[in-house]
Amino acid sequence: MPDLELLAAACEAILAVAGEPVSEAALVKALGSDVTEADVREALNLVQSRHEAAGSGLRLEKVAGGYRLTTKPELSEFVASFLGLRAQTRLSQAALETLAIVAYRQPVTLPEINFLRGVNSSAVVRTLLERKLIKVAGRKQVVGTPLLYRTTKEFLVLLGLQSLAELPSLEELGETEAAVGS
């Protein structure tokens, strides 16, 4: 019978990178021909008992379809606090897309952004305003006189650009079909 500690470590490593529940059968397959289901179960027991120690932040969970590692529920406060703080230094894909529209189509209105993205983007626009990456630059003289948005100086600093004229065209960055294969 193989080294139980090694098997436990291997199971933990696999579960830690899987990102989704892993079945016992998948573990058996990954661990090699001389490993049985009973070995895997014993190894998983070892993993579980190790995580019961107060110093461990993880736990082994048996869910539909197999096993997975998650953070301990009693630590969720810290994890949530970390993720909340981190979110402030990150841009979501929606925010990035909206920022791209403002950058390339400025000055642009919210209805125009909504039309291009196909979803209501008012919350995202608000976030970008709060982050000072875009600003209000007057109103468009059409029905409803919607606000016009432009990018800010902070936006240029973030991208390391001197002026908007330095913003590369999509062609320059090879982001269009026409440039493929060139």
């Binding site: 490593a13 830690a16 990178v17 990102g19 989704e20 993880l58 997975r68 590692l69 998650t70 953070t71 994890v79 993720l83 979110a87 230094t89 990150r90 841009l91 979501s92 894909q93 990035l96 897309e97 920022l99 791209a100 529209i101 950058a103 390339y104 291009l116 993205r117 196909g118 973030l158 991208l159 390391g160 650009l161 913003l167 590369p168 999509l170 960055l173 982001e175 269009t176």
Partner: protein, 254 residues
């Protein structure tokens, strides 16, 4: 530099070094000849370089334009080497070649260094346990936002927009001339004694053709080649021949 095995259907496999570019090939030749990079025998290296280009062409390896530019450069250096140097202080014609080869050699060493670091990192995977349901996907750290990320996002917006708004089916409009329509109508009139003009117009695929058709009919009436009848307002308009057949100019429209 790596190697590629060319398996020919007949004959043994040929193993040929794969070069990253002309500088890579030149460095290889300098090493093969065991000569000092500070005193490159340009004539020899130049001949061997061209032999390699021919070999690569024969094997149908894509020889990029850079190789040919470099070949011309080597030839220029070679010819300058044949000229006597006028002054003592005149630069060696090979100076730039040496400089570029040394710089490239440095790049290769640095690349090897990075490869070594990467090899040490092989087999180490980052841990990412799930949080249960929610997973922050596609988030970018603010410090990683660059114009390339922005352009990528813009392309995604545009692709999504194109998917949601496929262009309508657009038929190129047919080109018709009054002249053509007159000939067409005359042909109908000689065949059918009474021609339903209104129905014909209403069933044309585009409005422009219908209008052209109407103008052609008016023209035929004016030339006295046809008559029009309508029994009631909005009823069918019939076109009938008068028996007179005007000489129409041959259509020049293709």
């Amino acid at each position: 530099m790596g190697a590629v095995a060319l398996t020919e259907p007949q004959g043994p496999a040929v193993v040929l070094p794969v070069f990253q570019g002309p500088l890579d090939l030149l460095l290889y030749l300098v090493r093969e000849n065991r000569v000092s990079i500070w005193d490159i025998p340009v004539a020899t290296i130049c001949d061997q370089y061209q032999a390699w280009l021919r070999a690569m062409e024969q094997l149908d390896l894509a020889v990029a334009g850079e190789y040919l530019v470099c070949a011309a450069w080597l030839l220029a250096i070679k010819s300058r080497m044949l000229l006597p140097r006028r002054e003592k202080g005149e630069a060696d014609p090979r100076a730039e070649l040496v400089e570029r080869l040394l710089a490239y050699e440095r790049v290769k060493r640095q690349a090897a260094e990075l490869a070594g670091l990467l090899a040490l990192r092989e087999g180490v995977w980052p841990v990412q346990v799930s949080l249960g349901e929610e997973k922050s996907q596609g988030d970018v750290a603010l410090e990683d936002v660059d114009v390339a990320a922005l352009a990528r996002a813009m392309r995604e917006v545009m692709e999504h927009f194109r998917r949601e708004h496929p262009p309508g089916l657009v038929l190129p409009p047919m080109r018709h001339t009054v002249q053509e329509k007159m000939q067409e109508l005359l042909a109908f009139l000689t065949e059918e004694r009474s021609f339903p003009l209104l129905s014909h117009m209403l069933t044309r695929p585009d409005r422009l053709e219908a209008v052209t058709c109407f103008l052609a009919a008016l023209e035929l009436v004016w030339l006295r080649a046809a008559r029009v009848h309508q029994r009631l307002p909005f009823a069918e308009i019939y076109l009938t021949p008068t028996g007179y057949s005007p000489v129409l100019e041959a259509s020049t429209h293709a």
